[in-house]
């Protein structure tokens, strides 16, 4: 049986609330609560997706849309808002508890409702977006008054992001809404937030919704934030954390887990208006959570379990990156041209307590990269982090470097990155959760040298590709970083091919370079730590060793010096008795 229509429900204090219903009446009831300065139309796109399997209910919060307007500020008190929510739930689903889905101020009210012992039994689950419990906010701020561990920085950061909260306590805010802000608002939503704007939303009632809704702030913020009360709920909560939320920083939600016995946190990409920028994904996450709770589960923990794909994971930097993420409990997908070394990496990752798989992957084989992406997509949705690490070394004079040499190094160093970024980047975009692409470039990307023209060219291309991708994917919540290590003690020195010399001379040069790299004492683990830093802080470019920093500075401030250095032959002198150590077969 399907329902579609609007009715009035008597809320707290006799106020009439406009309630809309659609979808299957025999399905689980999902009650969608909007925020500020919206009305129920903010949910239109999500509701469309949910109505096939759910009884979908929306309503206009008091003061917004077609619902009644309370008298004075006290009419917006939290108690009244919670009473409204319970009244709507009772009216649309008198026998079964409803699944709450709430955004912004809707979520703030919903937190108050599920942590209210009397109201809580009316709710089967709660999916929260961009609206913390005010009691949590109070406790969070209080905890950050103590110095250390970046607490003051977090507090300052969130305080800056809360500029509008202060503005709403002044007479300026209603004035702004009345004079022009309503015209700018849809533009801001579309450009800054990537939200889908239509005739219904923000709609004609924006000015009245926005000015009346200021009462929400004035009636509640001070009281709850300054005097937080201990709160707790048994209702299973799903927390959707938007990485780019300009109003509620992801950090503000740290610790909110303590409020709920079972809370599933899902870190996703995107900005504040998820119901409008990622409606399909929001609907999917809501259905999954509702289905799980209906089946008797109480999902807890953190999603997505980071899934990390690394190419060239069988040695050096690739292997260290895998181990670093494994230590954090990620799921590792180690790929390498050599299945045996990738398998060893996966085994070490498991020893560190992570789950891991390995695949033989030749990054010069486009079909193979696509096939792996399809497999990862089918099993995990999308990777959280894609590390394009596989690379080759090539040294020697440009005039001695033939077509085949160029073909080979560009296929691996550049095309490998192109294929990996494209195949897995598309998965990330389609999946809509947070994502990060890390490309291992090189200090050679900005340090020209006569001895490594092919290698440096390939890495410079990787750096430029990375910077273009950053620009393109920023709106999708996907970060892209380039790591420029410098001389790192990996296997690359002994695997570098030297053109224009015979085998003996090549062996001697490899050994000499390897010894030079070893003396530099930059370990692959240091690069792995740089990768973690790049992902955690969304750094566009991370130079690792001092020479990488110096190269970057020279590029910017000392081009003449840079050209002079480029002319020096940096191939280390080979010793006459260079007999290499016994190296286990690679």
């Amino acid at each position: 049986m399907t329902a579609r229509g609007q009715r009035s429900v008597v809320g707290s204090g006799g106020l009439l609330l406009a309630v809309q219903e659609r979808g299957r009446t025999d399905g689980p009831t999902v009650l969608l609560v909007h925020g500020y300065p919206d009305n129920h139309h903010v949910w239109d796109l999500v509701a469309e997706q949910l109505e096939a399997d759910h009884h979908v209910v929306t309503y206009d919060v008091r003061g917004a849309g077609e619902s009644g307007v309370p008298d004075g500020r006290s009419g917006f008190r939290m108690e009244a808002l919670v009473a409204d929510l319970v009244a709507v739930a009772d009216a649309v689903s008198p026998d079964r508890p409803v699944h709450l889905v709430a955004h912004d101020w809707g979520s703030i009210q919903a937190w108050a409702a599920v942590t209210d012992p009397e109201a809580a039994p009316r709710f089967a689950s709660f999916t929260s977006m961009s609206g913390p419990s005010l009691d949590h906010v109070g406790a969070w701020m209080r905890a950050r008054l103590r110095p250390g561990a970046g607490r003051w920085r977090q507090l300052a950061n969130q305080s800056l992001h809360s500029w509008y909260v202060y503005a709403f306590h002044t007479p300026l805010a209603p004035l702004a809404w009345r004079h022009g802000l309503t015209r700018l608002w849809p533009v801001m939503l579309e450009r800054r937030e990537g939200a889908a704007v239509d005739r219904q939303w923000p709609g004609a009632s924006l000015a009245t919704d926005a000015t009346r809704g200021i009462g929400l702030y004035r009636a509640n913020i001070f009281q709850h934030v300054v005097r937080p009360k201990p709160a707790h709920t048994e209702v299973p909560v799903q927390l959707l954390v938007a990485s780019g939320d300009a109003f509620v920083t992801p950090e503000l939600l740290n610790g909110i887990e303590a409020l709920a016995t079972s809370l599933m946190r899902r870190d996703v990409g995107g900005q504040h208006w998820l119901p409008r920028s990622r409606p399909a994904q929001v609907a999917r996450w809501v259905s999954q959570h509702v289905a799980a709770v209906e089946a008797g589960a109480r999902p807890t923990g953190r999603l997505p379990t980071p899934v990390v794909v690394v190419t060239g994971a069988g040695s050096g930097i690739g292997r260290s990156v895998c181990l670093a993420f494994a230590e954090r409990g990620a799921h590792i997908i180690a790929t390498d041209l050599s299945a045996a070394t990738a398998e060893r990496t996966a085994e070490l990752c498991r020893l560190l307590g992570a789950t891991a798989e390995f695949h033989r992957l030749d990054v010069t084989d486009g079909a193979a990269v696509e096939a792996l992406a399809a497999k990862v997509g089918a099993e995990h949705g999308a990777p959280t982090v894609m590390v394009n690490n596989a690379g080759l070394g090539l040294a020697g004079s440009f005039l001695d470097t033939g077509d085949d040499d160029w073909e080979q190094i560009l296929q691996v160093n550049l095309w490998g990155v192109i294929r990996g970024s494209r195949a897995f980047g598309r998965l990330m975009v389609d999946n809509g959760e947070v994502g990060h692409i890390v490309n291992i470039a090189s200090a050679a990307a900005f340090t020209p040298s006569r001895t490594i023209s092919a290698y440096a060219t390939s890495k410079a291309a990787v750096l430029m590709l990375t910077e273009c991708l950053q620009a393109e994917l920023a709106d999708r919540g996907i970060g892209v970083s380039a790591i420029c290590p410098g001389f790192v003690d990996t296997g690359i020195a002994v695997a570098t091919r030297y053109v224009g010399v015979d085998d003996d001379e090549q062996d001697a040069r490899r050994l000499a370079a390897d010894r030079l790299y070893k003396r530099r004492r930059i370990t692959p683990d240091a690069v792995a730590d740089a990768v973690l830093r790049a992902v955690d802080r969304d750094r566009p470019l991370v130079p690792v060793a001092a020479e990488a920093w110096l190269g970057l500075l020279a590029q910017r401030f000392a081009p003449r010096l840079r050209r002079a250095i480029a002319r020096i032959d940096l191939t280390p002198p080979t010793s006459s008795r260079a007999e290499p150590a016994d190296v286990p077969s690679r």
Binding site: S315, T345, L348, L351, L352, G353, R577, V583
Partner: protein
């Protein structure tokens, strides 16, 4: 650089059978002391407490001087994570927790004979640690084999590096002062010690600096590392060899004497806790005689 391949017997020190016996005895009693202290470690105990106990235990057993006082590393300090300055090697108030690895490293002197040992253990289950400890066996076999084949010390060091890279471990002996994987130890006079400086016995510091000076003249180094000064064929004597591996926050090592003679090399004693552990786990290629 040219290396004089002169008469090998003229370089280093050839211990007498009695001296070897004395060193073996001290190595045994030191490992026994480390094993007994390791058995007493409990969650909540600090590195300082562990080091203090080991020191007392050794003094009770006759230690009258030190090459170095006990070090104790818990948790990710076993892999020297974040170590920037040598002072960080000294025991701290880090507390042992369930599942943590630990390393005890001490070098006592008993009547002129010195032991320098490294004992790795863990509190409770730690599959990563078990695996690293298992994999350490290959280094004991590799090192003695390479030395027998008269590879230069630098080449042996590089072979160890290559094996670590192949297995996927970080080479953590790199973090030791001088980046040494081993150092030569000479017998001292039987008289008791004259104190320590920064945890190192003064008599041994003097002996070591004399060796360095002699080595410089003869173009070898009592500090065995991967650099050019160690690019010489094996030098006679007792070498305390300490390969130290790291897998992220898990570090493991052993340290024991390798005896290098004119034409051979062997581990001074095959009856040590880590060797017994390997044999009990079916790992037989441990470089034993």
């Amino acid at each position: 650089m040219t290396i004089s391949i002169g008469p090998v017997a003229s370089r280093g020190h050839t211990p007498t059978p009695d001296q070897l016996d004395a060193f073996r005895r001290v190595q045994q009693l030191t490992y026994a002391a480390a094993e007994s202290v390791a058995g007493e470690l409990q969650a909540g105990m600090t590195e300082r407490e562990a080091a203090r106990r080991l020191r007392r235990r050794l003094i009770e057993n006759g230690a009258d001087d030190w090459f170095h006082l006990p070090f104790a590393w818990f948790g990710d300090r076993t892999a020297f994570r974040g170590f920037k300055v040598p002072l960080q090697f000294f025991p701290t108030n880090r507390r042992l927790e369930e599942g943590m690895p630990f390393v005890l490293d001490v070098a006592p002197v008993v009547r002129g004979a010195t032991a320098d040992i490294g004992y790795t253990g863990g509190l409770g289950d730690n599959p990563a640690l078990e695996r690293v400890c298992d994999d350490l066996a290959a280094y004991r076999a590799l090192i003695v084999d390479q030395v027998r084949r008269r590879r230069t010390f630098r080449q042996v060091y590089e072979a160890v590096d290559a094996l670590a890279a192949y297995q996927g471990y970080a080479n953590r002996h790199h973090a030791y002062p001088g980046h040494v994987i081993a150092h030569q130890v000479l017998p001292l006079a039987e008289s008791p010690g004259v104190g320590t400086t920064f945890g190192f016995g003064r008599r041994h510091l003097r002996s070591l600096s004399r060796s360095i000076a002699t080595g410089r003249r003869q173009q070898w180094s009592p500090l065995w590392s991967g650099d050019r000064r160690s690019d010489h064929p094996p030098v006679n004597g007792l070498w305390a060899v300490e390969p130290h591996l790291g897998l992220r926050g898990v570090g493991a090592k052993f340290e024991e004497y390798l005896v290098v003679t004119d034409d051979d090399a062997y581990w001074l004693d095959d009856d040590l806790p880590h060797v017994r552990r390997w044999l009990s786990r079916g790992i037989t290629d441990v470089g034993a005689r």
